[in-house]
């Protein structure tokens, strides 16, 4: 994207009253006449100002025509423009942990409660309208706020159930990871699916009888109805108090949902790590020196486990993106009060990463589109990718080279306990898994600036830099 084209955000198309634009590393939003009017009303309200101040809403300001840098043909399409603060890394609900989705759900309900109490409605209830900034959920879709029409029910209730409540219930009540559901279905877990999943016994769990079972029954009964329920509700005297009663009950319900993450093979990793004290210090020192010397702004720690090395990176760079296949490990990293604000922890499988999907396969994008790492930490991961996930070593290194030009990678040899465990009960077809093979493949893309053996040579660390770099020094 060059500086003279304003790129339309490919995820912003459903709303006819506005569109998001990326331009010169800034975020702008064009608004229609009616949306602009709603925004100007909203802006005056003290509840809105408080939400902005507390950081629950993304920083937003209206731009005058003079301040607006967008090209003329874009400016001509909309009645007015807003500028929003930029979110460092965009993430999606299917990459979040249970507690992240729960925090987002609480924020959503809080905003509905604040809005309704002050004469406004929140049009949607989608986790895609919430982003994590400095480890806290922030609502970014400001035009969702609209003046409340009297007698109107909460139009976002069903969506709230399908995109927040049911996924959280799946995790809390059935210990079923919600991410695959959210990743496969852009509208979340629909009411009939939820009803099919929750058993008779589940109906005795808090919230299931009303929000799952009863909603699915009413859905079936009234889905094809020709009655105009909306206007009937209005003339029957539906009022915002009913919405507030429901919202408060949902707030209590969400608060009580807990997931006791246990039984994960990685969640307990830090208690069983394979290194002696000395080796662990050597590894930490190597990583710390690499980051200090290479000065990356953005670091990815893939296979971060509980984040011990992400923490080192975070103290020396602007932004760390820590990913791991294990929901439990990432949840721990997120919940740990010592985790610094510049770490964004996400659930992600290197061998099965977030795809480009949704409308025209661009509505939701892969991680590489949303974040470019200056340096990647690939520690104690390669044996899982090659042996467990069966990815050829050469291809994995090719992928790393496409992702970044600076890399710290750890080779885990066949003598290591972990590799022995992985190879047990498997036919050893992994001729490409060897130190020589790794070094040869690394050298195709990188220069190896530094190397360190740990665990008596069972594990080796490599600092890889762009090929030309050594000559330039």
């Amino acid at each position: 994207m060059n500086n003279t084209t304003a790129a339309v955000n490919a995820g912003s198309f459903r709303d006819r009253d506005g569109r998001v634009y990326h331009y010169q590393e800034r975020i702008f939003r064009g608004l229609s006449e009616s949306a602009l009017d709603s925004f100007r009303q909203l802006q005056e309200k003290s509840f809105y100002k408080k939400l902005i101040e507390s950081g629950k809403l993304i920083g937003t300001r209206e731009l005058s025509n003079e301040e607006n840098p967008l090209p003329a043909e874009v400016r001509a399409q909309w009645a007015g423009f807003l500028e929003h603060d930029v979110v460092p890394v965009i993430s999606y609900a299917y990459e979040w942990t249970f507690s992240m989705l729960k925090a987002a759900a609480s924020l959503q309900l809080h905003l509905v409660e604040r809005a309704i109490s002050n004469g406004f409605a929140l049009k949607d209830a989608s986790p895609y309208n919430i982003q994590f900034v400095n480890r806290k959920p922030v609502f970014i879709d400001i035009p969702s706020f609209e003046p409340l029409q009297p007698g109107e029910p909460w139009s976002g209730y069903r969506q709230f159930c399908e995109m927040f409540l049911f996924p959280l219930m799946l995790q809390a009540y059935k210990k079923c990871n919600f991410q695959p559901f959210m990743r496969a279905s852009i509208d979340g877990v629909d009411v009939q699916t939820a009803a099919a999943i929750f058993s008779f016994r589940d109906r005795f769990r808090k919230g299931v009888m009303s929000h799952v079972w009863l909603q699915s029954k009413l859905d079936r009964r009234y889905g094809g109805s020709s009655e105009n329920i909306r206007s009937n509700l209005k003339s029957a005297g539906f009022n915002k108090e009913l919405i507030l009663v429901n919202v408060r009950k949902l707030q209590k319900l969400i608060k009580r949902l807990e997931w006791q993450a246990s039984g994960s093979e990685w969640g307990d990793y830090t208690e069983f790590h394979n290194y002696s004290e000395g080796d662990h210090q050597r590894k930490e020192a190597f990583i710390r020196a690499a980051i200090k010397d290479e000065k990356p702004a953005v670091v990815w720690d893939i296979g971060c486990n509980t984040g011990q090395f992400s923490l080192i990176a975070a103290s020396e760079c602007e932004q760390v993106l820590s990913t791991d296949i294990d929901h439990v490990a990432v949840e721990r990293l997120y919940l740990n009060p010592d985790t610094p604000d510049n770490i964004l922890a996400l659930v992600q499988n290197v061998a099965d990463p977030s795809p480009n999907w949704g409308w025209r396969n661009r509505e939701r994008t892969d991680l590489q589109t949303r974040s470019r790492p200056d340096l990647v930490l690939c520690l104690a991961l390669i044996h899982h990718v090659v042996i467990t996930a069966n990815i050829p070593l050469a291809e994995f290194v090719d992928w790393l080279a496409g992702l970044t030009n600076k890399l710290v990678i750890e080779y885990v040899s066949r003598n290591d306990d972990k590799v022995q465990t992985l190879l047990r009960n498997k036919e050893d077809k992994y001729q490409d898994y060897s130190r020589e093979s790794l070094e040869m493949n690394l050298k195709r893309h990188f220069d190896i600036r530094r190397q360190q053996e740990v665990n008596n040579g069972d594990r080796s660390l490599y600092l890889c830099v762009p090929k030309a770099a050594l000559e330039a020094e």
């Binding site: 139009s155 069903r158 909603q215 009964r221 329920i229 009663v245």
Partner: protein, 67 residues
């Protein structure tokens, strides 16, 4: 209270096509979940149907009674 209201809704339980209008059931559920505060609303919504059910009115589909 909620049980009575629920029973009244369930009196007319037949399966229909949910995909045509997925929001309607959810809107009605908000009335039920509104608890005591919603009873008045629920009764008004179903005043006509109640009268038919108790044999006090004609079987007529018009919904323009605003009570």
């Amino acid at each position: 209270m909620r049980i009575i209201v629920t029973i009244l809704f369930l009196l007319y339980m037949t399966d229909t096509e949910a995909y045509l209008d997925p929001g309607t059931g959810s809107m009605l559920l908000q009335v039920i979940l509104g608890g005591v505060a919603a009873v008045g609303v629920a009764v008004k919504l179903y005043w006509h149907k109640l009268r038919v059910a108790f044999g006090m009115g004609k079987k007529d589909d018009s919904e323009d009674d605003t009570v």
